[in-house]
């Protein structure tokens, strides 16, 4: 079967610095794949390469077997590859309502309408309602995003990605800095994703990784160190050496 996502010998150099070296990834449909590694290992570089924010120095990225290395970031979103950001990237001056409405409109292909008033399409409205409920954002839906409490902003960050109906979801530390309560909400929502959605999770928190992932890749200094099922990765002496002091209970 064609993997949903595949990278072949992906490389990214910043001047003399090699941020990603010969990275080969393979995600089957419905995979719950985690990408871990110490700080500065190049995890976010990989996400930026996958989503098209960065251009690879060499190598290929394939989505459903098609080379998308030169496809614009927004087109990759339309192809079903959606990401969340480690540091919130939101529309501070818009409300959650408007932000989600925009994302839904773009997905439905009505985002470029320039003569129709915003908020007059019932298909868009209903979907915004669903998303607001699902991510507990109803009570703050009309407030400017910039003034929302951090936990709510984090939920909106994830909700925006869901609004794009991803087939391949790239989660960059989704629960980073979130208070416990909202953390459970976020994790539950991710766990409740349909089976046919493929997920690549970048995470520091090993509890989350081992409870969620069915495969783990370990990235060190821009290179893939190990890849395999959680139990295998946890036993690997090289991984243990990198994560000295961490305990793995697979």
């Amino acid at each position: 079967m064609t993997p949903v996502l595949e990278t072949r010998a992906l490389e990214k150099h910043f001047g003399g610095v090699v941020a990603a070296s010969q990275v080969s990834l393979r995600l089957e449909k419905g995979a719950r794949h985690a990408l871990i590694g110490p700080n500065g290992a190049g995890k976010t570089t990989i996400i930026n390469l996958l989503t098209g924010v960065l251009r690879p120095t060499s190598g290929e990225i394939l989505l459903d077997g098609k080379d998308i290395s030169h496809v614009q970031p927004y087109e990759r979103v339309r192809l079903g590859m959606v990401r969340t950001f480690q540091i919130n990237q939101l529309f501070g001056e818009l409300t959650p309502l408007e932000s989600l409405g925009l994302a839904v409109s773009e997905r439905l292909g009505t985002g470029g309408d320039w003569w129709r008033r915003f908020g007059t399409r019932s298909s868009v409205i209903d979907e915004i309602g669903d998303l607001l409920e699902r991510f507990s954002l109803v009570d703050v839906m009309r407030e400017e995003t910039a003034i929302l409490p951090y936990g709510k902003q984090r939920l909106l960050e994830i909700a925006l990605a869901f609004a794009c109906r991803p087939r391949l979801l790239l989660l960059d530390e989704p629960a980073a800095g979130v208070p416990d309560l909202e953390r459970q909400e976020i994790l539950a929502t991710i766990a409740a994703l349909p089976d046919d959605v493929t997920v690549l999770l970048i995470e520091h928190d090993m509890d989350i990784v081992f409870s969620f992932a069915d495969r783990i890749s370990v990235l060190v200094n821009g290179e893939m160190l190990v890849e395999g099922p959680p139990a295998e990765v946890a036993r690997d002496p090289r991984v243990r050496a990198v994560y000295l002091g961490e305990t793995f209970d697979a």
């Binding site: 950001f85 408007e98 409405g101 470029g112 008033r117 309602g129 409920e133 009570d139």
Partner: protein, 353 residues
């Protein structure tokens, strides 16, 4: 639980369309504007000037206030439209002003389309320099091809036909004023409709965070090209109006001073809510007269002082200083859905549901 209730949907639709509703202050604004036709008949010449500045500033607002594209060369499109209208009239290509106005606007829009690709990338500074460069370039071209433009002497011998074949331009500027005001109103209504559409909202999103905009599937570059093209067309119409109402076109239309002044006008009125350019134009023109009365040689000193004060008060954003006033207007006229600031604190508890 996942299904939104019906009342939710109605509420959401109401909130989203609230921005598009005409409010009392807005209607009052336009009633006053049209009332000046009858109330101030002896000021129509200066009012026409104001309307043209207003339209030009509205055009800049579309790119600066809504898409975050800063420009120091917006006069390129104003001057281009002005010359286009001049040429059409002078050579009798299109005699009827309204049609000529549309053609001149479209010509500027085409110029805007092709130059838009230069402002897609880069920081505010590169955009400032590129727009400035394009305007300078155009001004020198106009100077060089004096056979066509009249060069430094300006384009002479322009004769403007009657509007719609019926209303002749008169010496007191009555026709010119009514004509210009109607053009401004029509283009304002269109602009208002555009910025309240999904397209318009996506511009705000791009201005806010273009990285995320692309990440939710918004074709950032395409949207920026579109609004830059539209704004260039608006500026071209403003320039064409100047030519038609004064029967003259000159290099001044392309000058750096005009680009700088229109930025000033917009900042005085506040960018990002469409009325800023209009209000700014009124203040700018009357402040100009008033200050010139007090200190004839130094009126620019006062303009400079006001500019510095506005930017200091606005602090983070040059568009910011009118916000408190607009928030007051919110409360008076439901200009935008009310967003009580205090709710930010109470929503902390609301999170668990």
């Amino acid at each position: 639980m996942l299904k939104a209730t019906r009342s939710h949907s109605t509420e959401i639709a109401g909130l989203l369309t609230a921005r598009a509703r005409w409010t009392v202050p807005e209607i009052a604004f336009w009633l006053v504007a049209f009332a000046t036709i009858f109330v101030l008949p002896d000021r129509h010449l200066i009012l026409t000037e104001i309307v043209i500045w207003a339209l030009f500033a509205l055009s800049l607002d579309l790119i600066l206030g809504f898409a975050g594209i800063i420009s120091l060369g917006h006069a390129a499109f104003f001057g281009f439209g002005a010359y286009a209208a001049g040429l059409l009239a002078k050579h009798g290509l299109i005699v009827e002003p309204v049609l000529a106005l549309i053609v001149a606007g479209l010509a500027s829009a085409v110029l805007g389309f092709f130059t838009s690709f230069l402002v897609l990338r880069g920081t505010d500074l590169t955009r400032l320099m590129v727009t400035l460069g394009v305007a300078l370039l155009l001004r020198e071209l106009a100077n060089r091809f004096s056979d066509l433009t009249g060069g430094a002497d300006g384009m002479q011998g322009i004769e403007i036909g009657p509007v719609l074949g019926r209303f002749d331009f008169d010496l007191y500027g009555h026709t010119a004023y009514v004509y210009s005001l109607i053009v401004l109103f029509v283009l304002f209504v269109i602009a208002r409709r555009i910025v309240r559409s999904p397209f318009g909202l996506s511009l705000l999103a791009i201005k806010d965070n273009s990285l995320r905009a692309a990440a939710v599937g918004i074709p950032v570059n395409r949207r920026l090209v579109a609004i830059y093209t539209i704004a260039a067309g608006y500026a071209g119409v403003a320039g064409a109006l100047l030519t038609q109402t004064t029967a003259f076109a000159s290099l001044e239309g392309l000058a750096f001073e005009r680009s700088a002044d229109v930025l000033l006008v917009l900042i005085i009125g506040g960018a990002g809510y469409l009325y800023g350019g209009l209000i700014g134009a009124v203040i700018f023109r009357f402040a100009h007269d008033w200050m010139a009365d007090i200190t004839p040689q130094y009126w620019q000193f006062w303009i400079g002082l006001i500019l510095v004060l506005i930017v200091l008060v606005g602090r983070e954003r040059i568009t910011g200083w009118t916000r408190p006033i607009r928030r007051l207007a919110d409360r008076l006229g439901n200009w935008r859905p009310a967003r009580p600031r205090a709710l930010g604190a109470s929503s902390r508890e609301g999170g668990e549901r």
